[in-house]
């Protein structure tokens, strides 16, 4: 069943009038006849509405900084936030030097009441001394939680003094939870800090290999980056730095030498991508390594960018080889998945990326959205000039970079760049809306009430989101697939990842456990007739889908 304006109105009528007016702007019914459809995004969350959004600290320390493995990430604040961001994103990392992988450590100043009253700067400074002595990391970050900014701890000065004292890169991030409207603010703060303090600090002047690239916005959840890098290496690329999954300070400081930056998650890392282009002349290419077609297209676009016949040929060879390996494996799963429907609601890019992979399995996305994205992630980057800055976005300062006097290089001639831009998404992201089918629902900052209502009406066969909302569909008799942390599975990226995903999704459809559970709407017979008795506790299920 589809949702029309009237049904949507009925759902929203449950809200108080003011809330209804606001939420209405965050929900679209895709209609390609209507021209570009505008959606409201990245505005303040409505209090009390059971949002899935997190805070600036979560975006900065939890998402962007946290995966950098050879650094110790100090959380300056009371213990909670450090605890809650400890290994919770399942970003994986392996270090060549096992003594330089600190991901399993949660390090906090554990501020107490007296620190709130008298200030925590001294405690933080002493703690940095301890961290250097105990861990000897390659670099240190300090992330602030709410009270730090309120009591006026100057963590930037503490970091600067510690940097002078210990002679290693120590930087501070004022990512207090109240900044901005969601984790998106934290991504921006982290992007600024990494660009200002780390990227470009390395001494490399020339790329170490012929096709040197960075992968931006890939967090190696469930090993995604490893599968992507495997394929890229086979084609002949050299991956200088991944931001930030399985990333390291050592690689990141030389990220300036890449000839091309790939952008996987546009939302969390587009600031660095743009700044790298301005400062070092490195173009960025929007890629998507989730889904087979998207992976192939991304690989072909990369080859086209470099324009080298041998590289183009090798790319096609690798694609062919990979497809031969996975296509037979995918066949049985496609049969199971064919004709099903899904919701795809994730943070800032996966809500879009996974639709293609679902589609390849025969599963239609009937509702999709982002937790914390901006309008450009829905409508494409062309709307950026039209986005009015508000008080919240102004609170996160833009970092203005200039071309580096010594290191700025045009990677390809301007003329060819213009030519390429017509063919491949260089410095461009088209957003989610264009790929959605007419009649499907696009919803920003989905909350629990709407989740429930949309499920009741659209009756998806699977619900893909995160751990906070996955138990609602479970209780309603619908399987879920966590796309934040993959339910401890993965990798899902690239070619082999697609098979893993197909296997995991199929499992949800055919596990016998569901035979005991019938979603409420399936109890009601669609046809007149007699209803068979359940035998031995096993109910005939899904007859309409067989």
């Amino acid at each position: 069943m589809a949702i029309d304006d009237k049904t949507l109105e009925a759902i929203l009528n449950e809200f108080p009038a003011k809330v209804k007016r606001s939420r209405k702007k965050h929900i679209l019914i895709k209609n390609s006849d209507a021209g570009p459809q505008e959606i409201e995004a990245n505005t303040r969350t409505i209090p009390g509405i059971m949002t899935n959004r997190g805070c600036a600290f979560a975006g900065c320390k939890g998402v962007v900084l946290g995966p950098l493995k050879d650094m110790v990430h100090i959380v300056h604040g009371p213990i909670g936030c450090a605890y809650y961001s400890w290994m919770t994103r399942r970003n994986k990392a392996k270090s060549e030097d096992p003594k330089k992988n600190f991901l399993s450590y949660c390090v906090s100043t554990d501020m107490q009441e007296s620190d709130i009253v008298f200030g925590g700067e001294k405690k933080l400074a002493r703690m940095i001394d301890d961290v250097v002595e105990i861990f000897n990391p390659n670099a240190i970050t300090i992330s602030a939680t709410c009270p730090v900014g309120l009591i006026g701890d100057d963590i930037n000065t503490v970091a600067r003094l510690a940097r002078e004292k210990h002679g290693i890169n120590i930087t501070a991030y004022t990512c207090e939870g109240y900044k901005g409207v969601s984790q998106s603010a934290g991504h921006h703060i982290a992007n600024n800090g990494l660009m200002e303090n780390i990227i470009g600090q390395g001494e490399l002047e020339e790329p170490p290999a012929k096709y040197t690239i960075n992968i931006l916005g890939e967090y190696n959840i469930g090993g995604d980056s490893w599968e992507v890098e495997r394929v890229l290496k086979e084609i002949g690329y050299h991956v200088q730095a991944v931001m930030t999954g399985n990333g390291s300070y050592e690689d990141l400081k030389n990220a300036h030498i890449a000839q091309l930056n790939l952008v996987q998650c546009h939302r969390s890392i587009n600031y660095i991508a743009s700044m790298l282009e301005t400062k070092y002349g490195t173009p960025w290419l929007k890629v998507n390594f989730i889904g087979i077609r998207a992976t192939i297209e991304s690989l072909r676009n990369m080859a086209q960018y470099f324009g080298d016949e041998a590289l183009i040929k090798k790319t096609e060879e690798v694609i062919e080889k990979e497809l031969m390996e996975i296509e037979p494996q995918l066949e049985p799963y496609k049969k199971i998945c064919q004709g099903k429907t899904t919701f795809c609601f994730v943070g800032g890019s996966r809500g879009h990326h996974y639709q293609g992979l679902y589609g390849e399995l025969g599963i239609k996305t009937v509702l999709a959205g982002y937790e914390f994205a901006h309008r450009d992630d829905y409508e494409g980057r062309e709307v950026i000039p039209n986005i009015k800055p508000d008080a919240d976005s102004k609170n996160i300062p833009d970092l203005h970079v200039l071309p580096d006097e010594n290191r700025y290089r045009l990677k390809i001639p301007a003329e060819r760049m213009e030519e390429l831009k017509k063919k491949i998404p260089l410095s461009y992201y088209a957003g989610m809306n264009t790929t959605m089918q007419d009649g499907s629902i696009i919803v920003d900052d989905l909350n629990h009430y709407e989740t429930e209502e949309f499920i009741r009406i659209l009756k998806p066969d699977i619900f893909s989101s995160g751990i906070k909302d996955k138990y609602i569909p479970h209780k309603m008799g619908i399987p879920s697939k966590q796309l934040h942390n993959y339910d401890y599975s993965g990798p899902y990226a690239g070619f082999r990842g697609a098979v893993n995903f197909a296997r995991d999704v199929s499992m949800s459809f055919i596990t016998p456990a569901w035979n005991f559970i019938v979603p409420p709407w399936k109890d009601k017979p669609l046809l007149e007739g007699s209803i068979e008795q359940c035998s031995e506790g096993v109910c005939p299920v899904d007859d309409d889908k067989k």
């Binding site: 449950e14 809200f15 809330v19 303040r44 969350t45 409505i46 209090p47 009390g48 509405i49 059971m50 949002t51 997190g54 805070c55 600036a56 600290f57 979560a58 009371p78 213990i79 909670g80 936030c81 450090a82 809650y84 961001s85 400890w86 919770t88 399993s104 390090v107 906090s108 100043t109 554990d110 009441e113 709130i116 405690k123 002493r126 703690m127 301890d130 105990i134 709410c146 009270p147 309120l150 939870g177 109240y178 900044k179 901005g180 919240d392 629990h448 009430y449 429930e452 995160g466 751990i467 906070k468 909302d469 138990y471 609602i472 209780k475 309603m476 008799g477 559970i517 409420p520 109890d523």
Partner: protein
């Protein structure tokens, strides 16, 4: 490495923050909801962790304060949040918990709550405020303070009745169900608070409802002052946070503080308390369960006696596990909690008195400290919540999971460890973990020690 007390680093914490603990009791009150006054990240992070432990939807609202709120105060956000929460959930009670942010900017939530009720004409809706800044204590303290505030806000002077107050710490829903079963077997009328045995471990039923069925009824909490006695499983709770103490001081309800009924002695003590109250002996069914537990202990003693345990987590659970280990010769070499509180050390010292080896008792511990001590003291089994997996990964000490949070395994909500039956199940988990460790290496170890002489 420096001495624990001189370190400025909390490295791999053994506790969470105060509002996290404050959410849980509200989930055990009928038709109750919680809003957290602060940045929305607090609510999101906590929901995430609670959902992962219980495998249940955990709806906790947030007032979503932002930069503007830090300057002008968050009153408007909180009131709007309450409006929306009431409209969408129609709750019978709302807990308002504060955060680092709200407390640091000095939000007067009592005033805001009172004003809100007056403005909206909601005289009969209990709004329970609990000041829980993250720096104010660990999650255990948040838990007890929330229970106390719920009771203190709702309790009324009532005529005497026969329902016994039973106040439980943060134990599993399965544990609460077992305690209720024992109370029923002893034919005791009771008000158990907070009762999240159904709400945080709900059966699959149709249709899905936003606020789960179950929980302590508000009118029962209101009548707690008329009870003949309060049985509180809280021997480590500081008096300032003790709900039982509050009922005793304000309403003269006698307080009996007992440990969580885990192990023979503590379960006997709980049942003795009930026997004194009712004059009824243990029924045959419990007598048989006790006998089976003793049989289990005897059968397993040769394995258990080789256990040297490191126990950590919420103070009340560490106490209960330590005393069970003492009864079985799984002598604790380290007993640690991330909380602080004089009563924990004092109480646990008493039960560890007969330990052949001195036990290291750690207050405000982190896992780096616990790991260091465990290695020094040769611990070979860890008992506590999931974060103890660090000890397995780094020191090869196997972990038996109990307490909160259990986020790397399913079924934390279904772990049964109290009463005679639950203790037996817990002991089997411990014994089998010791056996698994033994079987994984003992042939090679013996071969090397006795035959080749290389060990």
């Amino acid at each position: 490495m420096k001495n624990q007390s001189y370190r400025n680093v909390n490295e791999n914490p053994c506790n969470m923050c105060m509002p996290m603990g404050g959410i849980l009791p509200f989930k055990g009150i009928e038709r109750s909801m919680v809003i957290i006054h602060g940045s929305q990240g607090c609510s999101t992070y906590m929901r995430r962790h609670i959902a992962e432990h219980f495998n249940e939807p955990i709806d906790v609202a947030s007032s979503s304060l932002n930069e503007k709120g830090t300057i002008y105060g968050g009153e408007k956000n909180l009131k709007q949040g309450l409006d929306n929460l009431i409209k969408l959930y129609n709750p019978g009670m709302i807990g308002i918990l504060t955060t680092c942010l709200a407390e640091t900017i000095g939000e007067d939530i009592d005033r805001i709550a009172a004003e809100y009720k007056a403005e909206r004409g909601l005289d009969r809706l209990p709004l329970i405020t609990v000041p829980t800044p993250g720096y104010g204590g660990a999650h255990s303290e948040g838990y007890w303070l929330a229970v106390k505030r719920i009771i203190a806000s709702v309790a009324e002077k009532t005529r005497l009745h026969s329902r016994v107050n039973v106040i439980v710490p943060n134990i599993s829903p399965a544990d609460i169900r077992e305690i209720k079963r024992i109370l029923q077997l002893m034919k005791v009328d009771y008000t158990l608070c907070p009762d999240f045995s159904d709400t945080l471990d709900r059966p699959f039923v149709k249709p899905y409802v936003k606020i789960p069925e179950g929980g302590t009824r508000i009118e029962d909490i209101a009548a707690m002052p008329g009870a003949p006695v309060t049985i509180q499983m809280g021997v480590t709770v500081d008096e300032g946070m003790s709900p039982g103490k509050y009922l005793e001081e304000e309403f003269g309800v006698p307080l009996v503080n007992v440990p969580i009924p885990m192990g023979v002695r503590a379960t006997d003590a709980f049942l003795d308390t009930l026997r004194h109250l009712t004059g009824r002996e243990r029924p045959d069914i419990l007598e048989a369960e006790r006998g089976r537990l003793l049989d289990c202990m005897i059968d397993s003693h040769k394995y258990n006696f080789q256990g040297r345990s490191v126990i950590f987590g919420d103070p009340e659970i560490v106490y209960a596990v330590a005393s069970t280990c003492m009864e079985n010769g799984i002598y604790p070499v380290v007993a640690a909690t991330g909380s602080k509180g004089a009563k924990f050390s004092e109480a646990i010292k008493k039960i560890l008195a007969g330990c052949p080896d001195e036990t290291d008792i750690l207050n405000e511990a982190d896992f780096t400290g616990i790991r260091e001590k465990s290695r020094q003291r040769g611990a070979n089994i860890a008992i506590g919540h999931s974060d103890g997996k660090f000890l397995t990964e780094r020191e090869g000490i196997p972990l038996v999971r109990i307490g909160f949070p259990i986020h790397d395994r399913v079924g934390g909500q279904r772990l049964l460890s109290v009463g005679y039956t639950g203790t037996g199940m817990f002991l089997d988990r411990v014994t089998n973990t010791l056996l698994e460790r033994k079987h994984s290496n003992y042939r090679a170890a013996m071969y090397e020690k006795y035959y080749t002489g290389t060990a």
